[in-house]
Amino acid sequence: MRLTCPLCGPRDRREFYYYGAEDYLNRPDAGAPGSAWDDYLHNRDNPAGMTRDLWYHEQGCAQWLIVTRNTVTHAVTAVDLVAGRQGAAT
């Protein structure tokens, strides 16, 4: 398996650390109801098909990445910088 880092180019899977679902980027406000925190921390979809999750380019550029991939075909269709996304802290 290879991921194409937007900065480093195509790299072997061993250079990356897998974190979890993209949901981790959508942290509720401090005052959000318990159900929002429950969703954020515990509740995940388990899709047959397209999924987006967070990977860290540990042995490369040390950037967090959002990987779009298909759990049925194993196709990786996009790798984007977390830092580059809309509304991200700079």
């Binding site: 480093c8 072997d12 061993r14 042995q59 490369g60 550029c61 040390a62 950037q63 830092a83």
Partner: protein, 183 residues
């Protein structure tokens, strides 16, 4: 204040010559991490321009008159040499001197030798002279510069110096052992 004894990461280590390749320690001077602040690119470019340097993009190196700027991450580069003025306010600058250990691997077939330990394509077409990659050297994080067709500079965390040397020396020994068999 007691007199402390400065020690290099490769004190007492002699270059290893084998299989037509040379593995040798690098003696680095000051190393600075230059991490651009948000919106700091313009001011950094202004400070670097009179020196003939440009802040490098991914995989790039900018070099002039004893100063070398090596890309190491998003909006981040390592500067080898004396720190120029004018970067305050444009970037966060931290002293990395002594934190890294460097070796050179040179000679015909250096890329093939290096390829035994790294999972990126280090052939000339994929990794041209004057470029840099951050990748794993076996299990170590490394910054690898291609300084010539048959010449690489490899830097690892200083704590990994001897392991890095050991791994590369083993590659040279393996290639050296094979050479007479395939002659």
């Amino acid at each position: 204040m007691p007199e402390l004894i400065a020690k290099g990461p490769f004190d007492g280590v002699e270059p290893l010559v084998m299989a037509g390749l040379t593995l040798a320690p690098v003696e680095d001077g000051p190393i600075w991490s230059i991490a651009l602040l948000p919106g700091g690119a313009k001011a950094a470019a202004k400070a670097l321009k009179p020196l003939g340097l440009a802040f490098p993009g991914p995989g790039g190196i900018s070099e002039k008159a004893g100063l070398r700027l090596v890309w190491t991450g998003r909006d981040q580069a390592f500067l080898f040499g004396d720190l120029p003025a004018g970067l305050e306010g444009a970037a966060v600058v931290t002293d990395q001197s002594g934190g890294w250990a460097g070796v050179t691997l040179t000679g015909p077939g250096a890329a093939r030798a290096l390829g035994r330990l790294v999972a990126v394509d280090v052939r000339l077409a994929a990794f041209p002279v004057g470029g840099v990659v951050r990748t794993g050297l076996n299990h170590m994080s490394a910054v690898i510069l291609r300084t010539g067709e048959d010449a690489f500079e490899i830097r690892v965390f200083r704590s990994m110096a001897r392991t890095c040397w050991h791994e590369l020396a083993e590659v040279l020994r393996h290639l050296g052992a094979r050479a007479p068999l395939s002659a």
